[in-house]
Symmetry: C2
Subunit: 323 residues, 2 copies
């Protein structure tokens, strides 16, 4: 046994004890069943969890344009790549790049989204402000959904409820959130790649300087390092759809791949890495609502995940071992 | 950061996030509350969980003697030290030593127990067969307790329900069980020292050859190595009441110490190390009933604990690190 074999054993044991698919439930779980799911820290798909929401019937383009009359926050990127690692050709440095954000009319945003195609070279627009926006700029839509999901109240009250509106040109690069997440798809198809926090050795986490896209006058984008400079740490830099060159431990990884259809909820456990891409029919939109609940930092799980991270980084970076 | 500092950080973070006392509940939890407790993998004490059992009123000496008419299994040791590490003076080797077991009349066992004092040099006797004995040799007592604890059914049906009858001369050396344990004290006082599975580096686990005490004709004991030879692995050899000479990581350990009184239930989470000593008034007995439930080997906890064990043993034993 050496440190590498200990880590290999961890991942092999963990995978031996779990299926390599995402379990599906036809009906919402009871609070007790949901706690058992949370305890296992495995993603599941739940059907028929929000079919009673007025949003399911109501949320078409004209209704949304009627209800959202103020300006909204729009994320703009050249390739639909918000919060992702991009090499800046100007200085040759890889940055963690945040999208260019603008404020604009919701109606114009929606028109653009619906006329936008994969062939377009226009900037990709995405309404994805993850700031509890259903209590903020979209609060007129709040009565169309439930503010609490009854069986999920075992996790407390949601810290944030976010509306996401985009199209098939946007992709969320692999990342993780320290929240228990219930992700409800209302229209379009969301394809998730899901990687357990135990597989941290496989995703090549790095510390990167942060930057922001700035739109040019001619419709292009410039990467502008943040001033004052700041770093983003523990950011997974692996693309699970193009992993070959990034991580020596990739062979140990068993990503779960799952499509979440309209009417379905993905329970995405805290600290799981996820990459999300989406599809929607030409002229339509991808709409989702997600609930973020505080994760439990007490209990053994958080501390243990940090330990696996430290151990994995030591192995990946070839530490000086001292006793 | 090096492997030692990663382990130090794990234990310091874990302790920072948790109290160093055992939480007490005045009433039994609901199933949802109990699942939250299990999820935190922390011991708790629950009062008033079995005050309705007929056993609470009925179980005195004469009633027990009336009901238990068959022979029972009695564990005998020189010092009350069942399943403990003992150095055999004959060959100088440290063994994992199991008690000498006999079958005998319950009435005689009880008489001996009640007349036994700390000053005695007689063998220490303990009825502690952990083989679901309330469905076996003590089945006539089963109707005096509940076969299931309603709020604990979220863990399934108990794998075993065990009766323990002894006196203040018996001690259970530090050990762990791969079971979720509900330990109900009916009479006497049980003092637990509890150590988290994350603290495996602190308890000096070792692999030891196993042996069994054999009673001599003159009332003494001989340590007889098992034939064919066998080993017990991952056995914690630290005595938390006399730790100074055993583990270089002991300073990182924060054992919880708690007394469980009659009428109280200790929830002892799976894989927690525990040492148990007991007290009862002269002429009386220490009686407890415990419920063992299968632990969840799926989910991340079991695999993560094994990883901390491997990492800790590598540090303790000074491995050759290879990449």
């Amino acid at each position: 046994m050496n440190p590498t074999s200990a880590l290999v054993e961890l991942l092999e044991t963990y995978h031996d004890l779990h299926s390599n698919w995402v379990e599906r439930f036809d009906q919402p779980p009871s609070p007790v069943e949901f706690l058992q799911i949370i305890r296992r820290n495995r993603p599941v798909i739940i059907s028929n969890g929000f079919s009673h929401w007025p949003a399911v019937e109501k949320w078409d383009s004209s209704y949304l344009k009627d209800k959202i009359t103020g300006d909204i926050t729009i994320a703009q990127t050249p390739f639909g790549n918000a919060d992702s690692v991009v090499k800046n050709n100007e200085d040759g440095v890889e940055y963690f790049v945040k999208p260019h954000t603008t404020q604009g009319s919701f109606a114009e945003f929606l028109d653009h989204l619906q006329n936008d195609t994969r062939e377009s070279s226009d900037p990709v627009q995405y309404a994805q402000s993850q700031d509890d926006n259903l209590h903020g700029e979209y609060s007129t839509l709040l009565s169309d959904i439930d503010e609490e999901i009854p069986w999920a109240s075992v996790l407390g009250t949601p810290d944030a409820i976010n509306l996401w509106i985009g199209n098939g040109r946007s992709t969320s690069a692999l990342h993780k959130d320290n929240y228990e997440n219930l992700y409800c798809v209302l229209s379009g198809l969301k394809s998730f790649v899901l990687i357990s926090p135990l597989e941290v050795a496989c995703v090549r986490e790095r510390t990167l300087p942060s930057a922001t896209y700035k739109a040019d006058a001619d419709g292009g984008f410039k990467i502008v390092p943040d001033d004052p400079p700041s770093d983003v740490s523990c950011w997974p830099t692996l693309d699970p759809d193009n992993p070959e060159k990034t991580s020596p431990f990739w062979d140990l990884c068993k990503p779960l791949r799952v499509d979440v259809h309209p009417g379905e909820i993905l329970y995405l456990p805290a600290m799981w890495y996820h990459k999300v891409s989406q599809k929607c029919a030409p002229g339509s939109m991808c709409i989702a609502v997600n609930y973020w609940y505080d994760m439990d930092h007490s209990g053994p799980f958080y501390s243990l995940c940090q330990f696996v991270r430290s151990s994995s980084l030591l192995l990946a970076n070839g530490p000086t071992f001292t006793y």
